[in-house]
Assembly symmetry: C2
Homo-oligomer: 404 residues x 2
Amino acid sequence: MAVNLPPMGDLLPIDGLSIGAAKAGVKYADRLDLAVMVLDAGGVTGGVFTKSAFAAAPVVLARQRVGAARALVVNSGNANAATGERGLADARATCAHVATVLGVQESEVLPFSTGVIGEFLDMDAMRRGVDAAAVAVSPSGWADAAHAIMTTDTAPKALSRSATVGGVPIRATGMVKGSGMIRPDMATLLAFLGTDAAVSADVAATLARDLAERSFNRVTIDGDTSTNDSFVVMATGKAGGRVVDDTASSAYRELRDALAPVVVELAERTARDGEGATKFMTVRVEQGASAPECLEVAFTIAHSPLIKTAVFAGDPNWGRFCMAIGRAHVADLDPGAVDLYLDDVCVARGGLMADEYTEEAGAAVMARDEFTVRVLLGRGDASETVWTSDLSYDYVRINAEYRT
Amino acid sequence: MAVNLPPMGDLLPIDGLSIGAAKAGVKYADRLDLAVMVLDAGGVTGGVFTKSAFAAAPVVLARQRVGAARALVVNSGNANAATGERGLADARATCAHVATVLGVQESEVLPFSTGVIGEFLDMDAMRRGVDAAAVAVSPSGWADAAHAIMTTDTAPKALSRSATVGGVPIRATGMVKGSGMIRPDMATLLAFLGTDAAVSADVAATLARDLAERSFNRVTIDGDTSTNDSFVVMATGKAGGRVVDDTASSAYRELRDALAPVVVELAERTARDGEGATKFMTVRVEQGASAPECLEVAFTIAHSPLIKTAVFAGDPNWGRFCMAIGRAHVADLDPGAVDLYLDDVCVARGGLMADEYTEEAGAAVMARDEFTVRVLLGRGDASETVWTSDLSYDYVRINAEYRT
């Protein structure tokens, strides 16, 4: 159940970054479930993390330590969330073990966990996994790691891109699992982007925020947010060239814009692999007075269970779109200025059904595996895009039966 | 598919208020689908209406006219929403016809519609229905009207209560259909409360707001809000006694508290009759620093598709509750201070699983038709309660297949 999800394809090694995966047996038997990533000296990291008040133990540590980390350790099967002081001690002990094995400082190791909430980590399994993953590290370990971080994802999600930035050829490889809380208590969005571009630690932090804002923060499956969501940028600097150390510079914008397509594509893939997804929907809101109001309308549409069930049914029930646009918190919105399109079919113009619109034309668009809903607010020049999937019987089945 | 929904029981006539229903054939064949309510001279009305920017034509008129209305007209089957100028003209023409038939001014008639969005009213059917309903008016017309306003509700929802306020015996009878957008494009919450208590027009307006805030604004099925949501209080004054004309008075508080149980019960019944509902869940948040933060946590839980599917499955997946509490927008929430109960079973204490908690005990509570989730935030004295239902296969089926 995934909508046109592309295979990973060839993943480019990133010079200065080695990755290893192992079957630790944290929860799953006989599958890769732990990965270690190691940066050569001189690499920098930047990250963004869940805003949940119930942030998991690994998130608490990773948030403090991100910046000049030398190693990352990720496990699936157990989120180490809602585990209190013991959870924090377990996350620290995991980092200490990684530090010993790899010869770095404990404070230079970032932990990440995804899986069941409220259970304690099997520390013997974690240590065994770290030992095995450390032996396996190589620049070509991305594909194994993309498998290791999966929970109920139907397929690994990773891709690479090359670009030339400031006259210097650079590479980027990224991987992601989950999509917000699309995967209930086995949930979490974890995303990692490696690049050989040269940036300062401060710039890496801004880069992570800016890239997440354009990509992972534009995807929603069911509006829920996990205790463990994390996105980390790892920049090794091995591509050479001048170090980007100013986020106000054109060099920064050029680099950001070169990396954005990788994370946008990863974000779209999480929606394509959304829980029970049978449709992939792009929601584009244009002619808004501001970007925030465009996002408000787009997310109200993308979160609406009534629209998501209509999308599942392929039913061009445009009243539901009016309902969602109407209840979005946009001050002084004039319904008489709103146009609505399904792909190239104009459904409503000026808040009323378009004269030329037919149910058949709307149904033909909504029968497609993927389509775009376009809303024109008629009050400005701002526009925003978000991605989502439908709400199917399988969404209910997966979430209702997950633990039974 | 409704959870322990009580029958209407005996509905008390309200002196000074006559009600008639008819089979207008607006959309449904051979069922009651139109109701007229008439107040004797001296009656007052107060109302609250949807905040949707796409408010339907009848809502636009009713909102302007509420206060000293003499008659109400309600149809099901067509929402007269997203119908532009023609929709407004149709709503005005309906009111004009009611005014002629009943001998009141057009501006004294409030229109209400619920049903499909984006289609024009069949005005011949509306006029025929008004004619027939006007002939049928009587003080005992509540039960017929409760049927007439239904769309896909599984049963009519109405009840009566008697009380003594300021030494004067009063009566109240109320009816409701739908629950927020639980009923997709046949959606809308419409609620009407009649009482023979004596209040000023200003007080009726505040009373409608205060009662809605305690009842209908505390119910959610899927978080969507309709284009037509309306709640109107009709007070005839026939009970006699001193007219309540000051919302700061103890007489006002006494009246409000006497009427509140009627609307709270009506609101609960809309959740019990929620779309595809198999469970009725009360979410109570206590020990908050403020009422708004309690409501934020309660609604975040009540809206979460992950929790609602777990409730459907009867799965005491307490990590999902932590997730929802964590992502609610509550500044500086300390997870270590949060306790969680399912009915009388303590699931988590101080943000961690309670020592005495067992899955069996949690599962036993969630196997019940109805139960209460209690969250103690450990940071104050405020508390709030909301009501909701689960997210079942039938929710998806009803919403996906509704128009096909």
